[in-house]
């Protein structure tokens, strides 16, 4: 007995509605990324705890300090103690923002890039899905925007989002101090701007690497090789041999740190004679290079002339 109607019927929906291809690709990418992370439940829980453990601790410190400040009579001496022990966190300095958002979360950006970013285009290439995408009302540009937004979302999730939340919590407990409030609002704005290169550059780099491979694993290996070689090997050897700081420009991480610290107004430990504008220029050039790679690799038909 036939239960379902198996005939073909015409669709009577709105055929003129705008196509939001980039957001559809982004939504699917996020779902797939979450599924990839949660493929093995226990490692996933461990990874999430490791990524957000410090954040939970910092949040706890801010909230406990706020509670103690409001109950000084009950806990005499406790306010001074917590202020003394957790000065960096409670004063929410640009240095703290930098060290948390960049240094502490560096490893998790790498993990996000390897787990979520590497397969983004590589797996589509392997399954010939580019032909499926681009034979629909999806342009290469919209496809790439969707894919870049996906990896940018995951990088933001372990960097800028928790940092901004910490600043917001600190703002919410500092409302009684107008001077501190203004400073924190300024820091919030600087944090968001400083996060731009930290999110955008790795997102473009891993997506470009993904477009150059036909398997997520190969894309991850390619990306890690490029990052390790530029960041730790080639630049240091050349810098040592020629005794010139200019070779630090080969380090993508160094350039990101320079720009971040300038935006945050930090006086940091970067011993270099390389001007920040040169680092910014290198980052822009790197993004342009990645964009060219992406546009060359994301085509419906590969022409081998």
């Amino acid at each position: 007995m036939v239960i379902h109607d198996r005939s073909y019927s015409r669709w009577k929906g709105d055929r003129a509605a705008p196509v939001k291809a980039a957001s559809v690709v982004f939504e699917a990418g996020v779902k797939r990324g979450v599924a990839t992370i949660f493929r093995r439940k226990l490692p996933a829980i461990g990874l999430i705890l490791a990524a957000f453990g410090p954040w939970i601790f910092f949040l706890g410190v801010i909230l406990v300090a706020a509670y103690l400040r409001g109950n000084v009579e009950t806990f005499p001496g406790a306010v001074e103690a917590i202020n003394e022990n957790f000065r960096d966190i409670l004063s929410m300095t640009p240095e703290f923002v930098y060290s948390y958002m960049f240094l502490a979360q560096f490893a998790f950006v790498m993990v996000a890039c390897v787990l979520v970013g590497a397969p983004l285009i590589a797996e589509d290439r392997r399954a010939n899905a580019l032909e499926m995408y681009l034979s629909r009302p999806v342009t290469a540009g919209r496809y790439l925007v969707g894919k870049l937004a996906t990896i940018a979302f995951f990088i933001s999730l372990v960097t800028v989002v928790p940092t901004v939340l910490l600043v917001l919590v600190q703002i919410s407990v500092s409302w009684h101090d107008p001077g501190e409030l203004v400073r924190l609002l300024g820091l919030l704005l600087r944090t968001v701007v400083a996060a731009v290169p930290w999110v955008v550059v790795p997102a473009f780099t891993i997506t470009a690497a993904s477009s150059l491979a036909d398997r997520g694993r190969n894309a991850a290996i390619l990306w890690l090789s490029v990052v390790v070689m530029l960041e730790f090997v080639v630049s240091n050897i050349l810098r040592g041999v020629f005794n010139a700081d200019a070779f630090q420009l080969l380090q993508i991480g160094f350039n990101i740190r320079q720009v971040m610290n300038l935006v945050l107004g930090n006086d940091v430990d970067l011993v270099t004679t390389v001007p920040v504008w040169a680092s910014a220029l290198v980052l822009v050039g790197w993004v342009v290079l990645c964009t060219r790679v992406l546009l060359a690799r994301v085509r419906p038909v590969e022409v081998v002339a």
Partner: protein, 309 residues
Amino acid sequence: MTAAAPILELHGLTVRYGARTALDDVSLAVPGGAIGLLGPNGAGKSTLIKTLLGLLPAAAGRGQVLGYPLGQDGAALRRRVGYMPERDAFFPGLSGFQATWYAGRLCGMPDADARRRAHEVLLFAGLEEARYRDVATYSTGMKQRVKLAQALVHDPDLLFLDEPTNGLDPKGRLEMLDLVRTIAHDKGLHVVLSSHLLRDVEDTCDRVVVVQGGKVVRHEEIKALARSHGDAASVRVGGDVEAFRAACAARGLPVLEQKDRELQVKLPGDGQTRPLFEAAVAAGVVLRSVRPVRVTLEDALLDVLGRAV
């Protein structure tokens, strides 16, 4: 657009892969319905489809598909057409249902509509419980079906099917052709079916476009193509066979086959056998038997392709 307006119109279309010319000065006007794109492997059928979809740029020429000029607003055109690629192509990590729903969403369908249509077209394509399995685990036949469902989910006006029966067993092939016939003849969609298999086109299409070496060598109704090549006659000859062959050739009657004293001779367009008897008289031979042989599309096509080479 009126019913009589051509759905495809090309003028001097040329497509090149680097130095190689894949389509050479193709001009064509197709009125709609079920159109077969026929030709040997490497003839340029897939290139033509990809150019019509706006996936490949034209080196020269112009044209329109469903009223959209080639090379302009490809995204708007692709919203109104469905495409089933020749090779294995699927969205990785998705089940048949998810892939079809996703294809609908990419075409601008609202979420709820895309879900409902995905179920409908998957049932139509014959994927029932299997629609919840990962496409990567599908058999070749199931992959062809899910590709068809993905091409249909947004209910296109024009459907491009590139070798839809590739890799299918005989039963699967018949079922796929049945689905294509239903879409083309009962549901009012225009279908362009590319195939190197004559039977696939003969079974499903009203018109045929024959492509050879990047050129359109014939375009007409299938019935007219077979008819235009006339019929043939199987003739058993008593006497000098070579003299009879020469007499036939002199009267423009090509000999298609010869087995000993039995010759298959193509008759003129009107199917008259009189020239055969005239040739026999001229050669001084006796015709012991004359039997009509129906010219199939295959014979007609081989003749067209033979002349194009």
